[in-house]
């Protein structure tokens, strides 16, 4: 990915039905998703650099894990969490347009 950094700010849920071999597909949280007993993984990027990872929880709702994100250029996003809440990770954005966020698997 090159040029303008991806505008990923917003709340995204995993549309796993649309995943490809190489990409995980996310759509805005208000997208009319198919019902799913397994809670959808969620990513919330805010403009102030805060981030919330929504992970499937034991009570069937997403468990919110707050952290921070920053754009490292080239489509790479660095995600960090407070100590004990998870190791830092990098997300590689393939594209983000027309309400579809594609992240490399």
């Amino acid at each position: 990915m090159s040029g303008e950094p991806p505008d990923v700010v917003g709340a995204w849920l995993h549309s796993h039905e649309e995943d490809t071999e190489t990409a995980a597909v996310y759509r805005p949280a208000d997208h009319p998703f198919r019902p799913s007993r397994r809670p959808r993984r969620g990513l919330e990027f805010r403009a102030d650099g805060t981030f919330t990872d929504l992970r499937p929880g034991p009570d069937d709702r997403p468990r919110e894990v707050p952290g921070r994100w920053r754009d490292e250029g080239g489509g790479r996003l660095r995600i960090t969490f407070p100590a004990g809440d998870g190791a830092p990770s990098d997300l590689s954005v393939i594209s983000c347009a027309d309400g579809v966020l594609m992240i490399a698997k």
């Binding site: 397994r38 069937d60 997403p62």
Partner: protein, 374 residues
């Protein structure tokens, strides 16, 4: 008194922040402390050091809060749909569901009749007659997983006392969520289950063509959590490192979805594989149809511990009869399925558990207080 327009000095900000921090920390510690007590009791039932004193079914009074969008009349599900859910619960928890016959032979002996039944409340918290269904119109188009439906201040419906009623909220849920629950030990104002209206019961909006969640099993699953059951795969993200703390359910890697075919082997659990037809897996409604004896032991530990109020409380109809005739008081406990002496034992047990929890909370508060002096 302080002028509302005057900004507080920084020191006061810090103090306020610390108060919020301490409150959240205390609440979290209180929850963790209560969970420890609850899990300790569940373990004692699991290993046989304690066993259930219940004799006969217990009846849980239910209030269903139907929270419907002003412009979405379909969310205001009718009474028939609510009653269809209660029927499902009374089949599933009594192993009287027609599809229990599909349990593979290898696990047939494990099928549990939990002796737990559910009835819509006939008396509200003030003792007034009710049909057990509360209807609220909201301006919100839907609710997410953050408990907003549980309070009138956020467009939802306030709960009835959670030590006397199982609160069920039915609404439009966002993000493709079917429902969610609280484990015992959560704050009372949040206690209960939330279900999307299209997955509640078997008629009305649940009967839409192609809906794989049309048999009321979402509510069965969520009440399993409310009675302290964990997911059958142990919520370990596909690993085999954790299980559901129930011995008679095979350890399995991850959730099963859809309609799996028997056997489905993971975590070296062959030859029989995952018990994917268990209510605490993630299959379609038509694919889940059993609780096990081990899960029943955990439910009993919960009912005779954190939720003992439902066993000890007098049934509403019985209470009415007692008001009319004091002589029936002695029979009230028996009618609840618990012999009189056992009611007393359960109350003692409940009191002891509360004392233990308070002790733990005090210890946690002292720790926090010590920390805050720095």
């Amino acid at each position: 008194m302080t002028e509302p327009t005057v900004s507080p000095p920084p020191a006061r900000d810090l103090c306020g922040t610390m108060l919020v921090h301490r409150r959240m920390l205390n609440e979290s510690m209180s929850y963790r402390s209560q969970r420890a007590v609850i899990e300790n009791r569940a373990l004692q039932y699991e290993i046989g050091r304690l066993s259930s004193a219940r004799r006969g079914p217990v009846v849980i009074p239910v209030v269903v809060h139907v929270v419907a969008g002003r412009d979405h009349p379909e969310q205001n599900i009718d009474d028939e749909q609510v009653h269809s859910q209660i029927t499902v619960l009374n089949q599933d928890f009594r192993a009287a569901n027609p599809d229990v016959s599909k349990v593979p032979d290898v696990w047939r002996d494990l099928v549990a009749d939990t002796q737990i039944e559910f009835r819509l409340a006939t008396r509200d918290p003030n003792g007034e007659p009710t049909d057990g269904i509360v209807r609220v119109v909201t301006d919100r188009p839907g609710f997410d997983h953050r408990d907003g439906v549980k309070s009138s201040r956020t467009g939802g419906a306030d709960p009835w006392p959670s030590d006397r009623y199982l609160n069920m909220w039915v609404c439009q849920l966002a993000g493709s969520l079917l429902g969610y629950a609280t484990f015992p030990g959560q704050p009372p104002h949040l206690d209960g289950v939330v279900i999307g209206h299209s997955f509640f019961g078997t008629t009305g909006t649940a009967a839409a063509p192609g809906n794989p969640f049309n048999r009321g099993r979402t509510t069965t699953h969520e009440i399993g959590h409310w009675l302290n059951l964990f997911h059958i795969w142990g919520d370990d993200d596909g690993a085999c490192s954790s299980d559901d703390k129930v011995a008679d359910t095979p350890n399995q890697a991850d959730a099963n979805t859809g309609m799996p075919t028997f056997p489905h082997v993971t975590c070296a659990n062959g030859p029989n594989g995952d018990m994917f037809m268990n209510y605490m897996d993630y299959t379609d409604d038509a694919g889940m149809f059993m609780f096990t004896q081990g899960q029943l032991a955990r439910m009993n530990a919960c009912l005779e511990g954190a939720r003992a109020s439902f066993l000890a409380a007098m049934p509403e109809a019985e209470a009415e009869a007692v008001r009319a005739d004091g002589s029936r008081h002695a029979d009230a406990g028996e009618a609840r399925g618990v012999p009189d002496g056992e009611v007393e034992r359960l109350l003692h047990d409940s009191e002891r558990l509360t004392t233990e929890a308070l002790h733990d909370i005090r210890a946690a508060l002292n720790t926090v207080a010590g920390y805050s002096r720095w």
